[in-house]
């Protein structure tokens, strides 16, 4: 429901349900939102108001605005009860409260709902930076080939760098077993009813896995293109994997995930000759959502395109190592300077 003017439904839009009304607010902003009706009534609202009427609205801050609402043709309007259609916060106990007259009081919180997760994510990121670890959070829908891709990536990198892997799934430890078969450390996190990994889970995984200095830390998130987008785990980059057996419009259908990612891997490209998948369109859709996206076309099965992806990881590992070296060098210089000062005293 829109609590600005008190009408409309939520953002869940079901095709064919309800209709939208544009509203002009006092400050000139226009918004439109869906408006579902329980009762049956005709509703031939036209663009131009013929018999307009006004609604007054009180906002939480006490400001009042009115907007007109046009109708054309006869229709019943059982918006019940009429008074309830206006959200009058000014009359609610929460707003009419005078300190000292009632035992209730307002307390400002002004905190992000994800503050707790973000605090854990910041701690994870600080830990990774301190040890020069390059961490990636791999996200995709189920069945895009994340685990196979990880196995192939690990096989190419394990000779040169220590690698540890966190596997997120609702149930089973099948994926962690597949990763362990490559010889690297893996930890399965079963989220149970949960749909995503959170930064606290990853923090616990770090404690258990104890990743080596300057190593690669790979997090395979729960197969889900919605929820993992909102949860920062402390990774350096989110990597979204889209397989060519899915639709080209997936970046448009699940934009949050492709916006949150820095890299997109277009997987299963070996199947392209057998499909109608338009690779250029898929990439254009992804770039529409996120113009900064780095895209690699790969096939975990045939190995095509994997060298570019592996080279990208190696560059990331080196950048993370250089950053740590610079920090360490800076700290050493600072210690040397302090020691000099101490010696001079």
């Amino acid at each position: 429901m829109c609590t600005v003017c008190g009408c409309g439904a939520g953002e869940t839009r079901i095709e064919g349900d309800g209709h939208a009304h544009p509203h002009v607010h006092e400050d000139g902003t226009v918004h439109s939102h869906a408006h579902a009706h329980g009762g049956d009534h005709q509703h031939p609202h036209d663009a131009l108001p013929v018999a307009a009427h006004e609604h007054r609205h009180h906002h939480a801050d006490g400001s009042v605005h009115a907007h007109s609402h046009g109708h054309q043709g006869e229709h019943a309007h059982p918006h019940e009860p009429p008074a309830a259609a206006d959200l009058d916060y000014g009359n609610s106990p929460a707003r009419a409260h005078v300190p000292g007259l009632s035992p209730s009081r307002m307390v400002q919180i002004e905190q992000d709902i994800l503050a707790k997760n973000n605090a854990y994510a910041i701690a994870n990121r600080a830990h990774f930076d301190e040890l020069g670890i390059f961490a990636l959070n791999l996200v995709s829908s189920p069945g895009s080939g994340k685990t196979t891709l990880l196995v192939k990536t690990i096989e190419q990198l394990k000779a040169t760098r220590a690698i540890s892997v966190v596997e997120g799934d609702q149930q089973t430890s099948n994926d962690a077993e597949r990763i362990r078969a490559t010889g690297v450390a893996a930890l399965q996190i079963n989220t149970g009813k949960g749909c995503h990994l959170d930064a606290h889970m990853v923090g616990q995984a770090i404690e258990r896995l104890r990743p080596a200095d300057e190593s690669l830390f790979l997090i395979e998130n729960v197969g889900n293109l919605v929820c993992p987008a909102a949860f920062d785990l402390g990774e350096r980059h989110k990597v979204a994997i889209l397989s060519v057996t899915e639709g080209e419009d997936k970046p448009l259908k699940y934009p949050d995930m492709f916006a949150a990612a820095d890299v997109m891997l277009l997987n299963k490209c070996d199947l392209l000759p057998h499909l109608d998948f338009d690779v250029d369109l898929a990439e254009a859709n992804a770039r529409q959502v996120n113009p900064h996206l780095t895209i690699f076309r790969v096939s975990a099965r045939s190995g095509e395109g994997l060298s570019a992806w592996v080279a990208w990881i190696q560059a990331g590992l080196e950048a993370q190592r250089d950053k740590r070296a610079a920090t360490v060098a800076g700290l050493k210089a600072r210690i040397a300077e302090l020691e000099r000062k101490l010696a001079a005293q």
């Binding site: 429901m1 226009v30 400002q108 709902i113 909102a230 934009p255 949050d256 529409q288």
Partner: protein, 113 residues
């Protein structure tokens, strides 16, 4: 159930504040949710009622204040109004628009006794 985690996050913030303020009951919880955030207010409302059962916030009214979206269009070099996060610029049609407001998910205030 992403909204369930968010509702639990809300409850944690509410409980911490209520404890600090030595409240006996939470009457109202006011959230600020950006129109372009990944939160579905109706689902959040449903989850909020579930997670608050048996807590100090049981039966509290949840007010959701929607925050309008706006973005910085790199082509027009100005702030433009947005309805959805990945919408084109209403002036020039470019998708080079960076969201600047309307992505927030915050607990604004609570009313306690």
């Amino acid at each position: 159930m992403h909204e369930m985690s968010l509702a639990e996050g809300v409850l944690q913030l509410v409980e911490e504040t209520a404890r600090r303020e030595a409240a006996t009951r939470v009457k109202t919880v006011v959230l600020e949710i950006g129109r372009m955030s990944s939160v579905e207010p109706e689902a959040l409302r449903f989850c909020f009622d579930s997670v608050t059962l048996g807590s100090i916030a049981q039966g509290a009214e949840l007010e959701v204040v929607m925050v309008a979206g706006s973005g910085w269009c790199m082509v027009c070099a100005q702030t433009v109004a947005l309805n959805a996060r990945f919408e084109a610029c209403p002036n020039c049609g470019s998708y080079q628009v960076q969201a600047v407001s309307g992505t927030e998910m915050r607990v604004k205030e609570i009313e306690i006794e």
